[in-house]
Symmetry: C3
Subunit: 329 residues, 3 copies
């Protein structure tokens, strides 16, 4: 067996358990990389390092989740190319870290994490069928729906307890401007906006994530930073609460949207750039809207704004001749 | 005219009003049977007997609803094969029994029942077109949406009053384990879980429903019982409230999901069995989640968890080569 | 350059800025006309007159919104025939008037109006792709989703303040019959029901809208009046609150549904007529249901009931051989 290093990760030639193991590890890392749309195991490794830096517990959850959902897809014999690209790993990774973040740890919680990560692979497969009709990507929708389903179930299941990170259920109401945005708000918010993709409100974790993106694609790294900045500026301009801006709450959906629109789905160009900026602004408004819409349920918006806005902008593209979609794989 | 007994129901040869009447009755009974996915008028008759045993009022509602929605589809000249298989009857049957269960009886309520049962046929036709794109079944989605629409409308229409069976609108909140599950909880919950498909919390009705399933398909009967048991065990293990477990609240969606996945849509086998078990567990969690999600509206989840989980598992199947879909009719 | 008057609007032959301007104005007016499904700039002009009669502020908003969304679509090089028919104008027109009606005016609000009107064109393009699979129309769905998104965002954005026209968030609850319906309720409600399509509760505005419809299509005018009447009668019969009936709240969705089903999508005939009546009744119940469903968010139902009901009735039609769809353009 020989292990080769390619531009995007490891490849093990030959057969046997060791080759299978190396391939599995590389697939899991690509799964972590796909959380920010990078089919790249070096990016995955740096994302993992960023999460571990902030919290070994959350880092372990990311690994377990990505491994479980990837293994489930293998067991059910999913399409090999999609599997190998990490497409059955990123939802499991996010499901696991979100459940550990919002639920109190315990044996039952870990069992639920494994079940939910496995279920996210079934949902991923279902949504691949669903979206194929429009040649649109599934994005992190399976993560969002699986996670919300488990969180909502805590209202019926007495042995599943949420942490105080989950918002308290309440009716949405008008707000006034709260707090003053300073230079430190902007710097912290900018990097935390990237870190929040994995629910880590740490600027250093955000920096490691950016490093991972830059290793995989310079455009993706630039787009993430620009997206987080756009989210922050829009939130500031519209009078969002300063602590939320500082924590990067308005950045992660805009960052993911900018990565997707500016560096993944469309050919570079002026129209693409303008479209991506419009998308990042829309994702910020959509984050405000969806987090308010979920307030009566006490549920977080997660990456749903990113999913919805990218769906809209990808579906809209065929009508606009100035935009050119990157050829499907 | 001769009337023949086939393995699945009656068939009237020849023409004339009597033959038309026999065909209509058989079609309505198949409609009742299709509530648990059985194109079988004997099963429909036993289901009807089960409901009448518990309540003649609800039994009459089932008959009226199935007849109204079937007649509406005939009037609009729906596709004959689908009509004859009872596909335009089961939603009307469920709409009618749900409205009578959750609304106060009266002339206006009966008029609303007839209108809603008719509307459910239009919605059924729409969803057949919608789901054809993915070759996915419509299931009881038209029933769920029609019924929720009428229940929600009571908040604007002063002459439509709900019974106290409808949950009070309230924000979801954390719960603790309530009550102790005993042997009688398990036995009652198991059978009531099957009976709740028609909103009847009666173990004897559940037994009659099982008899109807066994007449039509032994696998379906076994799947219903196993599904109800899985729902009960998951709810118990997760710490759901004992009264809800006893009443079968966590059983009916899991039972329907098990029938669909294990005995209707996939060829038997180990992978199918594992898939159906995963589906029944998912349906139980989805029931907890969706009933919490509808809490601020004071709405019941009805069979929405079953619908959503079976859609996901049917749409996911093409990606998993171990699962073989039963050929479309 | 010569300007010709056709049966449905202006056409400028030749090139140059003036011809382009005349074409743009005519396109914007068709966009206003398409709010009630009329590809007719005279109808658009009369609708505009109706809004201006009631409020110059709202009239200006309609013009600005239609112009912005049309210009956005042109910038992105949308499909010329759809653009020219006003299909990228009506959502922007409605977005703008709804935002001005429900938000406090100010520089930021006007900026949001322009951004939202532009975004509605992207959403329109996305939904054209989405619905093409079923050959179903997009209707005013982009308006509804864009507008609700901005309204919901006010719960996070301190500089965006709603007016007291927006309902207060509250849980839905049972109601009793409120007020007495008199002759003046019926007359006012009938005309206001048509006027409410643009959020104008003025009988005279409703009359001008009817004039616009009659200029474009006598069937459309008759359908709008009949639809508004059906909505009013159903609401009255079911015990809705008298002030809401008088204001036309139960009329506008039924009126739009009647226009769509009776005069736009199906060939005239008895089955079509019965179908349209059923649709108008369903739209009225759906309005009650959706406005209750959105109550915990404090959001208005806007024209969502019309959109949902027409989708269902258009998707259902292929199953019913008595109904004949008008050929696609």
């Amino acid at each position: 067996m020989t292990i080769r290093l390619s531009r995007t990760g490891l490849a093990a030639d030959g057969q046997g358990p060791l080759a299978a193991f190396v391939t599995f590890v590389d697939t899991v890392l690509r799964g972590v990389g796909q959380v920010m749309l990078q089919n790249n195991s070096y990016a995955g490794l740096l994302f993992l390092a960023g999460v571990f830096y902030n919290s070994p517990l959350f880092g372990s959850a990311v690994l377990l989740g990505a491994a479980t959902s990837t293994a489930t897809a293998r067991l059910l014999a999913a399409e090999p190319a999609q599997l190998r690209a990490g497409l059955f790993g990123f939802n499991g990774a996010l499901v696991a870290v979100a459940l550990m973040y919002f639920l109190q740890p315990g044996v039952l919680t870990w069992a639920v994490v494994i079940f939910a990560a496995a279920a996210s692979s079934v949902l991923m497969a279902a949504m691949l069928t669903l979206m194929k009709v429009w040649k649109a990507p599934v994005l992190t929708a399976p993560f969002v729906f699986t996670t919300l389903c488990v969180f909502l179930a805590t209202a019926r299941f007495g042995r599943l307890q949420s942490t105080d990170q989950l918002p308290t259920a309440g009716l949405p109401h008008a707000v006034t401007v709260e707090g003053v945005v300073t230079g430190s708000t902007v710097v912290e918010g900018l990097l935390s906006g990237v870190a929040q993709v994995f629910f880590q409100a740490s600027p250093i974790t955000g920096g490691l994530f950016l490093a991972g993106l830059l290793v995989s694609s310079r455009q993706a790294g630039a787009a993430a930073l620009a997206g987080s900045l756009i989210g922050l500026m829009v939130a500031w301009g519209m009078g969002a609460a300063e602590p939320a801006i500082r924590a990067g709450a308005f950045g992660f959906n805009a960052a993911l949207t900018a990565i997707a629109l500016a560096s993944v789905f469309f050919r570079p160009g002026v129209a693409t750039l303008a479209y991506a900026v419009l998308g990042a602004v829309a994702a910020t408004v959509a984050y405000a809207a969806l987090s308010a819409a979920l307030a009566p349920l006490g549920m977080p918006a997660l990456t749903l704004p990113f999913v919805v806005v990218v769906w809209v902008f990808v579906l809209a593209a065929p009508a606009f001749s100035r935009l050119q979609r990157v050829a499907e794989d």
